[in-house]
């Protein structure tokens, strides 16, 4: 079963919360794990997620002093087979941050929601200064801010391994792997977002950012791409349950 048995409402992944988060379809079905406030598909070969899915509202991202961040700690995900589980030791001295895919700041309703974003299965190695702590964070804040314009914000986040052309004219995919569990360092990260307005109209935005130092004065829209580009590269289909013709806008352009 995708969903662990629920004891207290909201604090474990209930069937109904999962259907709410995944309302517009699963991008893929490989090793899906449901947490109390986000859903994740795990890439056992690369020891990082394929995708994580979140459902945000103004309430879930609001500041909440009842959530104590100091009780949140990066921890290995025991539900992943030890052969494929990343460890804190893989990241130490690697030069990369343990970058949240489902951002901690998106899950502020309950202590447990926040704590569950600290599973290492929700992390991917990200350049720290200049990326995770800067441009990528700006994008995460932009997503949270969308809850001011939309009643519901759905966001899918994950890694990409994009090819580049070399001098011999051939295309190659190349990425670093860190630690004894050879955790993949993605070349890029994506976010595909759908905002549901009060009039029920749907607006999509899609972003790809390179996993490297990005100048702080780069505007966010530089990173917008057609969602199909991400789908082809990631091997996933996003918001499959929405006919693209029913979208009012993509990346701000009326469709």
């Amino acid at each position: 079963s995708l969903v662990p048995a629920a004891n207290s409402a909201n604090l474990t992944a209930t069937q109904s919360r999962v259907s709410q988060i995944m309302k517009y379809g699963f991008p893929g079905l490989d090793h899906v794990r449901s947490h109390s406030d986000y859903v994740l598909s795990y890439d056992r070969r690369n020891r990082i997620p394929h995708w994580v899915f979140e459902h945000l509202t103004a309430e879930s991202v609001a500041r909440n002093d009842a959530v104590d961040r100091s009780k949140c700690d990066f921890k290995p995900d025991e539900s992943i087979h030890p052969f494929f589980r990343s460890q804190n030791t893989d990241y130490r001295k690697s030069g990369f941050d343990r970058g949240h895919m489902a951002a901690a700041g998106n899950h502020r309703l309950h202590q447990k929601h926040c704590e569950e974003t600290f599973y290492l299965s929700n992390m991917a190695p990200q350049v720290g200064q200049g990326f995770n702590r800067d441009a990528w964070n700006t994008l995460e804040m932009h997503v949270r801010k969308l809850t001011k314009s939309y009643t519901n914000v759905y966001v899918c986040t994950g890694p990409l391994y994009l090819p580049h052309k070399e001098d011999n004219g051939k295309m190659y995919v190349k990425y670093e792997v860190i630690g004894s569990n050879t955790v993949a360092v993605p070349t890029h990260f994506y976010k595909v977002i759908v905002g549901e307005a009060t009039d029920h109209k749907l607006h999509m935005e899609a972003y790809v950012m390179p996993n490297k130092v990005i100048s702080n004065d780069t505007p966010l829209n530089v990173f917008q791409v057609p969602p199909e580009t991400i789908e082809r590269a990631a091997g996933l289909l996003f918001f499959d349950q929405i006919n693209r013709k029913h979208l009012t806008s993509i990346n701000g352009n009326i469709v």
Partner: protein, 370 residues
């Protein structure tokens, strides 16, 4: 079910297919047959706009038929009437045949395989023995098989018989024999290995585990840092008991980090506040403080963030204003926040207030959005 299947197929259908007309009648002249053939393949088969396998195959069949025609003409048309084929014609036929076979291995070997036997029979009948030996046999232009083409398996029958004419044998016959012999040897090797190899001993590693690894694993060790070389002693403790290759349970490792951190706090406190610290003392304390802060950014910043306030207050109470300005403020040794540690996000609290003492302010700007 996906709501998007319909759209996807409709866009796929529009892919370039109808832009190129379906042609099956291709011709290749006798003057520059190779060039003409290559041009046709380039424009009608290998062009990126054509993606439909049916069209590609259809065009290839047409061009291949033209190639077969012209090869036949080049080799046999001259020989009954005005006596013999020129070596120039043979040369042209040879080049084109080789190119055609190369393409047939990818697009369709079956027609080629059928036809090449007819060509061989005619070549032998017309006694074009030079062409037989130097082109067909030497360049291995007989039927495609697994050595030429990914459509076949290695255990398909190699076309040995095809080449066994006019005093020739297949150029690959010798290597086939070697391979067969090797396979026999391999088979006997494998059965020898079965009895001789010992199972691997998985326990070896643990028997060799050093005393340090043992201590790292159990968390039982003394963390002592002296005033003499605090940074190198701190690093030594971290290296031996934390940064080990042994897989240590996270709780034990955290306790070890805390123990070493406590020793670092103690020695920094001693250096700064037990007697008047020299410049050298202050440098030492700052070096260790900086390293300790960096590590706490990874292992957990909470203790550091609490303690650094106490340190600040004591530094200001003791009026160590140089240390405050040149070390704590300038090196940003205040509480960890998102710039220092992946535990935080940019819209978490920014420790601006920490630095607002003794005429200083934070040496960084708050993020634009807070």
């Amino acid at each position: 079910m996906s709501k998007r299947k319909a759209e996807d197929t409709s866009t796929e259908m529009a892919s370039g297919a109808e832009k190129i007309s379906i042609k099956t009648n291709f011709t290749i002249g006798l003057t520059e047959p190779l060039k003409e053939y290559q041009k046709l393949i380039e424009t009608q088969v290998q062009v990126d706009e054509i993606v439909d396998d049916e069209i590609i195959k259809n065009n290839f069949e047409g061009i291949a038929a033209a190639a077969r025609d012209v090869i036949w003409q080049l080799l046999f048309a001259g020989s009954d009437g005005d006596g013999g084929v020129t070596s120039e014609s043979q040369q042209k036929a040879s080049e084109l045949l080789e190119e055609y076979k190369g393409d047939a291995t990818f697009y369709d070997p079956w027609e080629y395989n059928d036809w090449i036997t007819k060509l061989r029979d005619e070549v032998l009948k017309k006694e074009l023995l030079d062409f037989w030996r130097d082109t067909i046999v030497k360049k291995q232009l007989g039927p495609c098989w697994s050595r030429d083409c990914d459509l076949f398996d290695g255990d398909d029958t190699p076309p040995l018989e095809f080449y066994a004419h006019g005093g020739c044998t297949a150029p690959f016959a010798a290597s086939l024999k070697v391979r067969a012999a090797n396979n026999e040897i391999r088979a006997s090797d494998a059965s020898d290995a079965e009895s001789s190899r010992e199972p691997l001993d998985g326990e070896e590693r643990s028997a060799e585990r050093s005393a340090d690894d043992e201590a790292a694993f159990t968390g039982v060790f003394d963390a002592v840092i002296t005033r003499e070389q605090p940074l190198s002693e701190y690093r030594d403790l971290m290296t031996r008991f934390v940064l080990t290759d042994v897989i240590v349970p996270d709780e034990i490792q955290q306790a070890s980090v805390k123990k070493i951190a406590k020793a670092a706090q103690d020695v920094i406190w001693q250096i700064l506040f037990e007697g008047a610290p020299s410049q050298e003392d202050q440098d030492k304390a700052a070096d260790l403080l900086q390293e300790y802060k960096t590590d706490s950014g990874f292992y957990g910043p909470w203790e550091y963030n609490e303690w650094i306030f106490k340190l600040r207050d004591e530094v200001l109470a003791k009026e160590l204003l140089d240390f405050w300005r040149e070390k704590i403020v300038k090196l940003e040794l205040g509480p960890c926040w998102s710039r220092d540690s992946d535990f935080f996000e940019n819209d978490d609290d920014v420790p601006l207030e920490f630095y607002n003492k003794a005429g200083c302010k934070a040496p960084f700007n708050p993020p634009a959005d807070t």
